[in-house]
């Protein structure tokens, strides 16, 4: 009796835990901000102490020489008067992120507008279903890399913003390229729409600070680009990153084995395996569908790195050598492709790093695949829904 209760409790806790499907990017951003080199705002205690010491020193001087008071008050006025009053929503000269994960959001429109009189140009991204997770990156040129093709595209302007939405669909009516001759915003162009990751580039006349406002009813994300250096900022301008060929906007690559997913209920059915190169990484996608009566979930998986492209088939134990000099072994528990997957079980895409992807086993709901790599590389995994997918990005040189 007790064992049954405890088993149910254990299952329930795992089920509750799986509701948190991923580590939120906004949380990662908050942590990243927290460990960043100390900014001016965090110096408040030290500044207060320094101020107190100055006051004590002035008091001592005033006792000895009363004329010092007029000098000090004049100087204090000079310090205080020029300070602009802070605005509630300041422009920030740094990368930003936000939004919510786990939404079924669709981008329905993009609306640029000029508010030069108020000191900014605005680009509004309209959504249905809430505002998905987003990342905004500033860059020092208006040249971007398209997500799927890797082609370079240069927008109007001399600086840029890259905006990435995750877990977001795209309505067919959304324009792919908008040109405007605003003070700051010159062009907005779609850079990618792949695996529910939407990427947009915004060409700017010059590097400017940005304010991002998530708004509701209807859901929309307003990106305000300052039109002059007078916009209120809370941080000194940070150095702009150079355009990185790695294009790693979807999370950090890790040189560690990784795991995730959940083994629960009926086994998931493998329906597709796709391999493609994108700027900075080769992507391997495993797509799953639930059985009749089952619920969609990503099966428990492990992705293990290895120093050779030699694998052992499961359950035969037969050795198999793939192309390449290193490898990845991907094992799903609670998954099978025996009756659902009709594609090739030995893919040889010949990408920069991923040379071969081959099924190693499909037995008793344990599904194993291997990937032969041209070199040992770091990884990034993404767990995506609708349809259920495990995306493995293998970093390329």
């Amino acid at each position: 009796m007790s064992d049954k209760f405890e088993k149910n409790l254990r299952d329930h806790l795992h089920s509750e835990a799986q509701e948190t499907r991923e580590f939120p990017r906004r949380l990662r951003g908050r942590i990243r901000d927290g460990i960043a080199p100390r900014a001016r705002g965090r110096m408040a205690p030290q500044l207060a102490l320094a101020g107190a010491l100055v006051l004590v020193a002035v008091a001592v001087l005033a006792v000895r020489n009363p004329t010092i008071i007029s000098v000090v008050t004049t100087n204090i006025k000079q310090i205080l008067q020029p300070s602009p009053s802070p605005t509630p929503q300041p422009f920030l000269c740094q990368d930003q992120s936000g939004g919510s994960t786990g939404l079924t959001a669709t981008l329905t429109n993009i609306r640029p507008g000029s508010h030069t009189g108020d000191g900014y140009d605005r680009v509004v991204f309209d959504f249905s279903g809430g505002i998905p997770s987003w990342d905004l990156t500033r860059q020092e040129s208006a040249t971007f890399t398209r997500d799927a093709s890797g082609q370079q595209v240069t927008l109007d302007g001399s600086a840029g913003l890259k905006l990435v939405f995750r877990d977001a669909d795209l309505a067919s009516t959304v324009p792919t390229d908008l040109k405007r001759q605003f003070t700051s915003v010159r062009e907005i162009a779609q850079l990618g729409n792949f695996e529910r990751v939407l990427t947009y580039g915004i060409g700017l006349s010059s590097s400017q600070c940005v304010r991002v406002l998530p708004l509701s009813n209807p859901s929309r994300l307003a990106v305000d680009v300052a039109t002059s250096g007078s916009a209120s900022t809370t941080a000194a301008p940070t150095p702009l990153p150079t355009l990185s060929p790695s294009g790693t906007d979807l999370g950090t690559f890790s040189c560690l084995d990784t795991s995730g997913g959940a083994e629960s209920g009926l086994a998931m059915q493998l329906t597709a395996v796709r391999v493609a190169h994108q700027p900075g990484f080769d992507r391997v996608v495993f797509e799953f569908a639930p059985q009749a009566g089952g619920t969609a979930h990503l099966p428990a998986y492990t992705v293990s790195r290895q120093a050779s492209a030699q694998f052992v088939k499961d359950p035969s134990g037969m050795p198999v050598t793939m192309r390449g000099a290193a490898g990845l072994r991907i094992v799903f528990h609670g998954a099978s492709g025996a009756s659902s997957y009709s594609g090739s079980r030995d893919l040889t895409p010949g990408l920069p790093v991923v040379q071969e992807v081959e099924q190693l086993g499909d037995f008793e709901a344990v599904l194993s695949w291997g990937a032969g790599l041209s070199r040992a590389s770091c990884l990034r995994t993404l767990e995506l829904a609708n349809p259920t997918r495990l995306v493995i990005d293998v970093q390329t040189p």
Binding site: L9, R10, A17, R30, I35, T252, S254, L256
Partner: protein
Amino acid sequence: MLMDPTLGRVIERWRAGDRDAFEEVIDRYGLQLLRTARLILRDPSLAEDAIQETFLKAWQRIGSLRDEDPGPWLTRIAMNESISLYRRRHRFQALTERFGRLGGTRHELSSEARLDLTHALDQLTAEQRAAVALHYYQDLSVEDTARVLKVPEDTMKSRLKTALRRLRELTGSEEAFA
């Protein structure tokens, strides 16, 4: 617990102030810690706050990590943060309820009501939920659970027993799963 060499190198880079290494540690442990905190706090936003504080403290206190797997160390910090956050929230709720403002959402349980496990877990104390989460979700032994929560092993056995008894009472024991 001994570290694998790869993780050891990551920790060494972290000790040297390498933020990328620290992010690799977040990649490795963050999701499970967040899930555990959510089981204890019963609130996604509070759980994120607890885990944010956990990693910020970990970053600052890397010097106190011995040559060991950082998992149990991070779990210990996360549990402390989760429980203390829950206590602060609980104290605030008690005050506001006393003064008749901002009434809390605490579940009023009728004597005959039988709750599902989700609501039954809501009724446990944060310390009990932490014990249950570590033992039944993270699959830590009673000994390891006691070590993480810094209580004697016998106290942990008693705490788990009490928590289970309470959950059985609230759910109608095994019948709820029949």
